[in-house]
Amino acid sequence: MRKIGKQTIALDNAPYIVETSSIVGPKEAEGPLAKYFDQCLEDEFWGEKTWEKAESKIIKENVNSVVAKSGIPSSNIDYCFAGDLLNQCISSSFGLRETNIPFFGIFGACSTFVEGMSLGSLFIDGGAASNVLCATSSHFCSAEKQFRFPLELGNQRPPSSQWTVTGSGAAILSNTNYGKSCPQITYTTPGKIVDMGVKDANNMGAAMAPAALDTLITHLQDTGRKPSFYDAIITGDLGYIGKDILTELAETKGYNIKNNYNDCGVLIFDKDTQDTHSGGSGCGCIGSVFSGYFYQMLKEHKINRLLLIATGALMNSTSSQQGESIPGIAHAVAIENLE
């Protein structure tokens, strides 16, 4: 691997994404992508007593599922990169404490999924690992409880607010394709922290869009590619407002992404019937939409070149109460069918 341009890393032995798995909650199961997910839950507790336990169970079962689907013995998985939204990433560390896989807990808010894939692919390309597991989760109820208000409080959600997805995505990266045709990670562009001064925690899309723009443009400049090189440029999760902002901002910088750009937060829910306002958010959103929908599109060669940009809002409830603005971040990976 080698660094190209300002901050992109070209992966010479591009790691294969050999398997993915996704689990989502009941509301996501009513959305337009329901049929692509591996498992849809019937209730948010999933037999557990607390929201936090339920989220841990979601990521645990999803990791078990991706390992089982891949056929790789879990003892052959060298490292695991996982994270979530709860304080100190307890969903991941509690959920994965019995896996016996060396564990890196990572936090990048909603950008965690791609952060994990970036780090995992570097481990593989650098020869430190043969198989790496990446997983994230989020849960609407545990996130509301931690970041906003109790669920029973009779408040109104502003139109710019986003709905935290209950769900998990997991992927196994490997230095071999095990004889199957698999998409590969060819480039990774870690993002910078960008803060344009947005303070409204109910308008995350607007807070994160400048970071996504920065990473997108840097990636295109570093690789010398045009937006049209990609069959799909996918962010997660800017929602409707952030998607709109990113499209317009990119245009002012001379990049037309209107035709091939979409956002996981926009795709996962039906805005009109599900009343999710600006769309979905959370580590589980891009995680489950990539692992469910886009991985299948890649496998079926309906998409061959995908630029996946995960965006995160790096704030917590204390920083919001102290009147701080919301720093945004975006990490990108280029995923391609090379064979």
Partner: protein
């Protein structure tokens, strides 16, 4: 005499309109500012205490009855009214006793019912 025949319908209408208008003020605060619901409640209760302390709020209560007492403004006005009344009977000590004494019923009810509800109810997701 039957209870329903004793209802003063004009009084009820005034109550409905005034109560509704106070809520509209709250709704404008929600939609036009970024204030959280906790801040809005604080604004209402504090304004109520000030208006009650100045003796202005009593006119609204006389006019609209529960239309003025049920919104949190009335809760605030009641705190102020209690403090002032208690000061008249027991001096400075009354400033510390009167407010809470006058609204003790509401506060105790909220705490008690809150505790009971937590024993019985289970957290549930909002469907939308």
């Amino acid at each position: 005499m039957d209870f329903f025949q004793s209802i003063d319908w004009m009084q009820l209408l005034r109550c409905f309109v005034v109560g509704g208008l106070i809520c509209i003020i709250g709704q404008i605060l929600i939609d036009k500012t970024k204030l959280t619901s906790a801040r809005i409640l604080v604004i209402f209760v504090t304004t109520g205490v000030i208006l009650g302390g100045l003796g202005i709020y009593q006119y609204l209560i006389d006019f609209a009855g529960c239309g003025a007492t049920v919104p949190l403004l009335g809760f605030g006005a009641n705190l102020a009214k209690g403090a002032i009344q208690e000061v008249q009977t027991s001096g400075l000590l009354g400033a510390f006793i009167g407010g809470v004494k006058a609204s003790a019923g509401g506060i105790a009810a909220a705490i008690f019912f809150g505790y009971i509800a937590s024993l019985i109810a289970k957290p549930k997701i909002k469907k939308q």
